[in-house]
Symmetry: C2
Subunit: 131 residues, 2 copies
């Protein structure tokens, strides 16, 4: 485990311990969020979704990834503002933009694209820095 990841988790634990119940930890997560949405060419294919999710999980092994969340649309209330048209979601946390760049150029990421990009028709990426 890297020093940075250990530091982050220690910090998160400290915040939680110090919390008195009323306030949730805010921005105790690593600062940079990389959120990617995928729309499969064949949205009805469970097999393609499973392949994509399996590919996504390999990304968590990249050294600069501090935490990861992979998923699908949740069954929350349908509202006009909710976009649940995507097939899969990838959320990765990094310490900074350098960590995100290292991920972008990493062989594991390139392998994922080579293995899985034929599955999707559209990708949208949001990179967010804590503010």
């Amino acid at each position: 485990m890297s020093t940075s990841r250990r530091t982050f988790l220690a910090a998160a634990a400290t915040v939680a311990t110090a919390s008195t119940g009323a306030s949730a930890p805010v921005n105790t997560y690593p600062k940079l969020v990389h959120h990617v949405f995928f729309w499969l060419k064949d949205p009805a294919s469970r097999e393609d979704l499973a392949k994509l999710l399996a590919g996504l999980r390999t990304l968590a092994n990249i050294e600069t990834v501090r935490a990861a969340h992979f998923g699908v649309p949740a069954s929350t209330e349908k509202r006009d503002v909710v976009d649940n048209s995507y097939s899969a979601s990838e959320i990765l946390f990094f310490d900074d933009t350098a960590g995100q760049k290292a991920y972008q150029d990493h062989p594991i990421h390139k392998q994922f694209v080579a293995d899985c990009s034929h599955l999707w028709q559209r990708v949208v990426v949001y990179d967010v820095i804590a503010a």
Copy 2:
């Protein structure tokens, strides 16, 4: 601090301690992610952005919110797939859809909408469940 939040953080710490360095924790975060993007009516107004971010921070006080990340577009590489047109980002983690529903109906959330909805022209919500 709620029992659930304490349990989550303890679990995360356990995973981290057990990690041997090669693999990052995957989906050790609470399962439901509620990610909202806001486009301000006046994207150039630093004051409006500050008001919106201040309003967003109040949401972390809702009991079912397990963790929160608020931010703005990161200065990552510009690519066709990257959408950096939004003004602010809200990421909240919940244990489940019931927790997200409780947040949706919570007085703090309603107050936030009453105080801040005049600031934005567009909102897009993505709800993701771990898979």
